[in-house]
């Protein structure tokens, strides 16, 4: 069931939620958390779809905060809140409220969200795009136990990682970190099988994919060995190679779904490592709401301390794989600008 409210307030929305629940016949509900999604109109549909799928594992009240762009200066001055309340089959297993904010109220989104939070249940904020520089300082972020960003969606993902490291507060997490859980789990399993001393490692993956850097930093932090980041055409992460006392351990995934694990002295083995949908990432993210200290340590290791490219000289964190870029003739100084252009072209 769907209730549309225009020029409304949080208390009217709360009333509509109760009415909606009564009408579909589920006056009590087993929702375990409030998920606040902050997005623009363009990304709202996909983000909500992912959240609805994740809500099958984590029934939640989903509040989608959509900040609308007002055209005229007069509209910008005028504050307005529109809401769409969805209860029952239209809202996955929980309840959904789409909040469209116009004008001044955009800067006071927390005043709209606060009265709509579930009592005594955890709050998670997910910025589908345009995450603030310091998530915990953000008025919406301050309401939450868990703040989920996505560096991959950013224009300058690698730079973003450094920024995240500086403003990190326990409870912060990033979907580019979530994306590499299967890789980390398989690499840990490989070392379970053959206890050995790793002497160096190398992470290969597509450019502007912060997951590669995070995986490299995680390995560097855990193993305390030099780790090099190399660039390939993707998709996503393509290979991790660890040199060790028993020879090379290689996890290679050229096609984004089936990987091969090769270890010296052992037969090659196929491993399913599919790239996951946003809904699965979100579901994993909502599974544990305590601070992720392993993420914090990997993040704080620092992008700058990774070795880069084929040349092996350490590159500046904001210029991933400078050597590689120079080799194919494009401007090595502006990878971020290139990604921005690519993004614009895709729109």
């Amino acid at each position: 069931m769907k209730i549309d409210l225009t020029e409304t307030t949080s208390s009217k929305i709360n009333k509509a939620l109760v009415e909606g629940r009564r009408a579909v016949g589920t006056p009590t509900s087993g929702m375990v958390l409030t998920l606040v999604i902050v997005t623009d109109e363009e990304n709202a549909y996909d983000a909500l779809k992912a959240a609805n799928e994740a809500s099958r594992e984590h029934p939640s009240r989903t509040l989608v905060v959509i900040k609308r762009v007002s055209r005229s200066p007069r509209d910008r001055a005028k504050a307005r809140l529109d809401a769409e309340v969805r209860v029952g089959t239209e809202a996955g297993t929980g309840e959904t409220v789409l909040l469209r904010l116009y004008g001044e109220v955009i800067d006071h989104a927390q005043s709209v969200v606060l009265p709509l939070l579930l009592p005594d249940a955890p709050v998670v904020v997910w910025w589908a795009v345009n995450a603030p520089a310091a998530p915990a300082q953000d008025p919406l972020g301050a309401l939450a136990q868990r703040r989920v960003t996505d560096a991959y969606a950013d224009e300058q993902p690698i730079h973003e990682l450094s920024a995240r490291a500086e403003t990190y507060v326990p409870g912060d997490t990033d979907l580019s970190w979530t994306r590499i859980t299967p890789w980390r789990s398989m690499l840990a399993a490989a070392l379970d099988q053959a206890p050995c001393t790793v002497t160096s490692a190398e992470v290969t993956g597509e450019e502007f994919n912060p997951s590669c850097e995070l995986l490299a930093m995680w390995l560097a932090d855990r193993l305390n060995v030099p780790v090099t980041r190399k660039v390939s055409d993707g998709p996503g992460l393509t290979a991790v190679r660890m040199e060790s006392s028993i020879g090379a351990i290689v996890l290679d995934r050229p096609d984004g779904s089936l990987a091969t694990l090769s270890m010296h002295g052992q037969p090659d083995r196929a491993v399913a490592l599919k790239r996951r949908e946003t809904a699965e990432l979100l579901a994993e993210e909502l599974r544990r709401l305590d601070p992720d200290e392993i993420y914090a340590r990997a993040l704080k290791f620092g992008v700058d301390r990774l070795g880069h490219g084929n040349g092996g000289q350490p590159a500046d964190g904001q210029q991933p794989a400078a050597g590689e870029k120079a080799a194919d003739g494009s401007d090595p100084a502006k990878p971020a600008a290139k990604k921005a252009a690519k993004k614009a072209a895709a729109k």
Partner: protein
């Protein structure tokens, strides 16, 4: 540099995203063409692989009489997985799995077949890197257990080497009385050491059953009431709506009590009634469970406090059902019970005087398993009699299956002017608050076998204790009277209702 002999540097207790993945290993299933294997085991293996919990190179070996090639077996696994797996089918997961699929054809007394099995295992160690770690799943009728384990021993397949393991997984029934259970244990333990024998009681793999421990020991609001001062009695029910189906050969002579009460219901009783274990380690758990099972006392008059019955012809959920004695392959004079209800007491400080009623049956009203802890009435009520006329006893019900969850029943004022108190339910549904598809019991149990985690498996002592409880009842039934009858599709015989009525109680309608 990393420490070469220390713990894995990539693992950290704080890193809770990383799942427990089984080490290099393989699973050999005997009786791989059976129903259990196709409907539960193979899909569970696939689901585990899909969730990324199996090691790279995991191998699955089928052993059966059928004349199959490896490809035919892979095809069979494929079909079973497609039809029965819980998680969506993904080609790359299948590709990972199919590389380790092997089939060995043979009878259980066929020495050649076991030699082939040995070669297959050696070949897998080389090709898939299974490292000599294999679990043998005996999905075969119990009469073949001795044969199979002896063959495993004879061909050196059960030899524990220093850096690898061999485990045996066996399914119920673990014997049909104490004596046969001890005999079976002796045979299995001659070949496999006790800690490498895993007895599957699939109920213990269920999330809701594990939740009994969480509910009781992680909270403060239930445990203070969990004793004779507040609990009036406990009812543990496992009801099935189906008849014996094609299992006549297995079922006749065994009966409901041996099939269900001895393992599932007594395990549920143990988890409900036991004291808090010192830790969640297998040894600590088994100590508490054995202790409480050891304190179980049988009623003095077995004739009055136990009931057995057989379903008679009737209508079950809109379908006509034949009676047990009319089923194909059943002796019309059979005295086998398809329904059993017993009253037990537990002789300890916590439970003295609180009866535990256990019942199970086939062709009952609907399929349901639940534990109902029924509380005493309030000692004094300030409301007058008419106000609380419709108020029952408070109850806490753990719904094990289906529709897993917990219900609390208590009285509440009916809205309106006059004072009237009536029963209401407060409900927690597992599917509502947590994942829509919690893992199948077999997934959890197979993973635990590969990890060597024995928490959720009944030990030898528990099995023997359970038979000690059930044997006198079965002996009494053998000598006295004959089973009562109940129409299919109802909640059991009138005798069972009378049994509770004598105590001034009645069965819950689950």
């Amino acid at each position: 540099m990393t420490d070469s002999h220390g713990a894995n540097p990539l693992r950290d207790a704080l890193d809770r995203r990383l799942p427990r993945i089984a080490g290099p290993s393989g699973l050999v299933i005997f009786g791989v063409t059976g129903d259990l294997s196709r409907k539960k085991l193979m899909p569970a293996v696939y689901d585990l692989a899909n969730r990324g919990l199996l090691p790279p190179g995991f191998s699955l070996v089928g052993f059966a009489r059928r004349e199959w090639e490896h490809e035919d077996f892979a095809q069979e696994v494929y079909a079973a997985v497609k039809e029965h797996s819980r998680t969506p089918f993904r080609e790359e997961v299948w590709q990972q799995l199919v590389q380790g699929c092997r089939f060995v054809q043979g009878n259980f007394d066929d020495d050649e077949a076991f030699e082939t099995l040995k070669e297959t295992i050696n070949e897998l160690d080389k090709a898939q890197g299974t490292g000599g770690n294999f679990a043998f799943y005996l999905s075969v009728p119990p009469k073949f257990f001795p044969k199979v384990v002896q063959q495993l021993k004879k061909h050196g397949l059960a030899d524990q080497k220093e850096d690898s393991w061999r485990r045996a997984v066996i399914e119920k029934p673990f014997g049909h009385n104490l004596e046969s259970a001890q005999e079976l244990n002796r045979i299995v333990h001659e070949v496999f050491p006790p800690h490498e024998v895993f007895r599957i009681d699939h109920y213990l793999g269920k999330e809701t059953v594990q939740n009994i421990l969480a509910l009781r020991f992680a909270n403060t609001m239930f445990e203070p009431l969990w004793n004779r001062s507040y609990v009036d009695h406990v009812q543990i029910t496992m009801a099935e709506d189906i008849g014996i189906g094609g299992r006549a050969g297995y079922y006749d002579g065994i009966g409901a009590a041996r099939d269900v009460i001895q393992n599932h219901l007594l395990q549920l009783l143990a988890l409900t009634a036991m004291e808090e274990p010192a830790s969640f380690e297998a040894d600590a758990l088994v100590a508490e469970k054995t202790k409480v099972l050891g304190a179980v006392r049988l009623p003095r008059e077995l004739g009055k406090e136990t009931v057995r019955a057989q379903y008679a012809a009737g209508w079950q959920g809109g379908e006509k059902a034949v009676g047990y004695l009319q089923e194909d392959g059943i002796d019309p004079k059979s005295k086998t019970d398809t329904y059993a209800a017993i009253k037990l007491s537990i002789d300890n400080r916590r439970w003295a005087g609180v009866p535990f009623y256990l019942r199970t049956g086939k062709r009952l009203g609907r399929r349901v398993t639940e534990i109902a802890v029924v509380f005493q009435r309030a000692p004094h009520s300030p409301f007058d009699h008419t106000a609380t006329e419709e108020l029952g006893q408070n109850a806490l019900v753990i719904r094990v299956q289906p529709d897993e969850g917990v219900t609390v029943r208590f009285g509440s004022k009916v809205p309106g002017t006059s004072m009237e108190v009536r029963d209401v339910s407060m409900d927690f549904a597992y599917g509502e608050s947590f994942t829509e598809s919690s893992p199948e019991a077999y997934e959890r149990l197979i993973l635990d076998v590969l990890l060597g985690d024995a928490n959720l498996f009944p030990r030898l002592e528990e099995v023997e204790q359970s038979w000690r409880i059930l044997d006198p009842i079965e002996e009494y039934w053998d000598k006295h009277g004959k089973p009562a009858q109940y129409p299919a599709g109802t909640w059991g015989p009138a005798e069972a209702d009378e049994m509770l009525a004598r105590d001034g109680r009645s069965w819950r309608r689950p």
